[in-house]
């Protein structure tokens, strides 16, 4: 006659014991899974000027150096970053009040001058953008910052996945030959699951 109540007592004890030890166990297991998981980064690169070329490549190469899984989805003007020849990337201070215009040559006091050239003049002088680009490239090499080509090679060597948006490739009439080898061509539906899984997803 005492059996059901004995079972009930045992049940109750077991339940209480489980409730005691379970939270700690779960936390331990979760932590284990977290630590053994490889971090991942996905980047959507949409801009094609020299200044916007750096963030995706620097973040991707650094994350790859830290052992992360990295994917970059190039779309719209971001396709400029995966052309075989990237020496044509430009930068313009026109309408870009955030960009300082300092000369990368001459004595220190000269280099410190910020030439605030009015937009009207910038727009009117032919070749202004090419000049600004040239000066920026000089500044970049003066400060030991790597070139885009170098960063891109580092990414490719580190197995960063390069994916080009097929739609914008067609839109801008790029042929696969103009773009670097080893690229995947896909659409948003392919990339979104990748983005979903990644720990960090950036829209650049």
């Amino acid at each position: 006659m005492g059996e059901p109540s004995q079972l009930a007592v045992i049940d109750d004890l077991v339940r209480r014991r489980i409730e005691e030890i379970l939270p700690a166990k779960i936390e331990e297991k979760l932590k284990e899974i977290q630590e053994s998981k490889t971090s991942s980064l996905s980047i959507i690169a949409t801009k094609g000027t020299l200044d916007w070329a750096y963030p995706p490549y620097i973040l991707a190469s650094t994350a790859a150096a830290l052992g992360w899984d990295v994917s970059i989805f190039f779309t719209f003007y971001g396709l400029n970053l995966v052309r075989k020849d990237v020496s044509g990337l430009k930068i313009s201070p026109l309408g870009n009040p955030g960009m300082p215009m300092k000369m990368p040559f001459g004595p220190e006091w000269f280099k410190g001058i910020n030439w605030n050239i009015p937009n009207l003049l910038q727009a009117g002088i032919p070749g202004f953008e090419s000049m600004a680009t040239g000066l920026m490239k000089q500044t970049i090499s003066n400060t030991g910052v790597p070139s885009i080509e170098e960063l891109r090679s580092a990414c490719l060597e580190a197995d960063v996945k390069f994916i080009a948006c097929q739609m914008t490739v067609d839109l801008f009439g790029f042929s696969h030959d103009e773009l670097i080898d080893g690229m995947d061509y896909a659409g948003a539906a392919t990339f979104l699951p990748v983005a979903k899984q990644s720990d960090v997803c950036l829209f650049i």
């Binding site: 971090s39 190469s61 650094t62 150096a65 992360w68 030991g144 790597p146 960063l151 580190a158």
Partner: protein, 75 residues
């Protein structure tokens, strides 16, 4: 400190010191020590983070005459 390979990263800016370190370590054997010399002040934190993330041990960090010397042990 004894080291098996030296990497001169002077004059290189982020992220090159890390990228070059990673490349140099890949070619080395487990347990070997890589000496990295850098002039980039950012590399101090970067190398510490790199060591933590990749499991390669950062044995020591020293600053000498505006240069930074790191010893990293290949895991």
């Amino acid at each position: 400190m004894h080291f098996d390979k030296e990497l001169d990263a002077r004059g290189l800016n982020c992220p090159l010191p890390i990228l070059r370190t990673k490349k140099a370590l890949t070619d080395m054997q487990s347990g070997q020590v890589l000496k990295v010399v850098s002039t980039d002040p950012g590399s101090v934190k970067d190398l510490a983070a790199f060591a933590k993330q990749t499991g390669n041990e950062l044995l020591s960090t020293e600053e000498k005459n505006k240069e930074f010397e790191f010893f990293v042990k290949r895991k």
